[in-house]
Point group: C2
Chain length 334, copies 2
């Protein structure tokens, strides 16, 4: 992995690395969208221990969602990531791994539910926002920043954001306290050239204000890893990945591929192989993440994967739907 | 898909297509490496019918391997692709789909076994060669060309070819009768930038002699489709793909992803979805192709996938090997 895209593809550039690069594991957070956040403590602990052993920089343990109007037990505890739940796994986290949760704009009582940093084992609050929620997201960033946290913003579903709104949104986010702004391919719809275009645009806004750009890719068209590499080459420094790619729908950039690619000797692949093989892959039959034809179709059409997830859920009952009927339904909706 | 890589990522360029692009299905040929070429006629016919319906340009039905010293029944018939076997599937092939077989340098009695074009249902002979076999390959190309066939050359395992030999080899191949020369990532070891570097180099040699460049990618690091796109953008016109990615080890560029990407209206995705879902995926449990950790490791190490294939074969007995032991073994070999 090289510093920048070389004009002459000089092979020597492959041997160096960019120390600014940070790898973030969001296995439990993004994977939680496939099991209603009901991971056993044992799995969360395995992922935590693996991140520590592998030299991963950040781990996202789940969401900090609003608990208003929710019945106890309706969702797994990683939807809320209360301090007690976190500490049950990580203790006081006396490691170099920084811990984070995601807070969705308009789905989080951030003023009450996010404690001052000194009272929390968390290091970072990641704010997720759709383009129309940016004013709320900015207030969340400020609130978390003022409480002592590092913050980042995941601007979701960028593949359906009109250009003009994106420019205005990035301008607003660039003026915020966030340390990094993420290019988020929620629908797994981006080809390399749109990744290039977007990462360059984000860099333009972020560099002027001293921020980093991040990439969070989905694997609907088997491009999550390739698009992450594309981001790296252009200068994105914050990289989201998950063990075995576990995440919503077609899943995310697989951590094992990313660490195999990165040349910083602090990253260790071996613990990740163990985690994937012995702890994450055994979940696949029930969680059903990963590339499959319905995800290809929603990705190709730049649609939310919810119809594809629903199609896949029938497999839990041992049924496989008719892919041609699915194809005809989603293409007719266009 | 656009004509060339635009400097400004102008979105309009995404809507056009390059009519010179040819898609080649090698499901039965590359997939045959996972089942000793023992496909039922019914599956071969389904793939053939699918290629015709999907507007695919070429279909490779198998190898034309030497039969000397081989016992009858030792391998499936698609290792030899005798005229009678081919015609049992395709009749006289009164379609626009061109038919091809692969002939490996030094593993084929080409003078005897390749009939004059007028006596065969085949249109194209694809010669596969390692860098050190090029003189033989050139003679095979000439033989097939003189018999009336279109020819191409797949220069295998390019990721381990020394630069100086590659330059000399390409010079020799550029002077041949072949219509196209393929960049072949046999080990699934290429990242996008080496694909760029190689495709540009091949183009340089090929354009001067009026040839096309092809790409044949493997999916060890989930990059087969991404690397195929990379080739397209740079100007490669011959694209190998297989139904559901069926092929040796981690498999190939999936046809369904490739056709979803290409904008030429002659390509139809729907028949491919049917074929993948209802005919190819049911073979996966026995043929075991596709991305998995051992393939990542051999790809990352730029090794032949044979150790990974062996590791995977234990799964046919319901056993999964120890990936850490595999990791330690392959990395020690380095």
């Amino acid at each position: 992995m090289k510093m920048t895209k070389p004009k002459d593809s000089a092979p020597g550039r492959w041997l160096s690395y960019r120390p600014e690069i940070k790898v973030l594991d969001c296995t439990i957070r993004d994977g939680g969208l496939m099991n209603n956040h009901q991971f056993d403590d044992q799995i969360v602990k395995v992922v935590y221990d693996t991140c520590v052993a592998a030299g991963v920089d950040y781990m996202e343990l789940g969401y900090r969602a609003s608990r208003k109007g929710i019945k106890a037990g309706e969702h797994g505890c990683w939807k809320y990531c209360l301090e007690d739940d976190l500490r049950r796994i990580v203790g006081d986290n006396k490691t170099n791994l920084k811990l984070t949760v995601m807070a969705d704009a308009e789905r989080c009582d951030y003023r009450e539910d996010i404690l001052p940093k000194k009272d929390s084992v968390l290091d970072v609050i990641r704010v997720a926002t759709y383009i129309n929620q940016i004013p709320t997201a900015l207030d969340m960033v400020k609130d978390a920043h003022d409480k002592g946290y590092e913050t980042t913003v995941n601007l979701m579903a960028v593949s359906v954001v009109p250009e003009r709104e994106l420019d205005e949104g990035l301008e607003m986010l660039a003026a915020s306290e966030a340390r990094a702004i993420y290019v988020v391919d929620s629908f797994g719809a981006l080809y390399s050239e749109r990744v290039q275009y977007l990462v360059k645009k984000y860099l333009l806004h972020c560099k002027a204000s001293g921020k980093d750009v991040g990439v969070h890719m989905h694997n609907n068209m088997q491009l999550a890893f390739a698009n992450t590499i594309e981001g790296i080459i252009l200068g994105a420094n914050f990289l989201d990945a998950t063990m075995a790619g576990l995440g919503r729908g077609a899943g995310n950039c697989p951590m094992e591929l990313l660490l195999a690619f990165l040349h910083n000797p602090k990253y260790k692949l071996r613990p990740v192989l163990d985690c994937v093989q012995n702890h994450i892959e055994p979940l696949r039959a029930k969680l059903l993440w990963g590339y499959d034809l319905p995800y290809l179709l929603t990705g190709m059409l730049n649609q939310h994967p919810r119809t594809a997830i629903k199609f896949k859920e029938a497999e839990l009952k041992g049924e496989r739907g008719d892919i041609l009927r699915f194809h005809d339904a989603v293409t007719d909706q266009e």
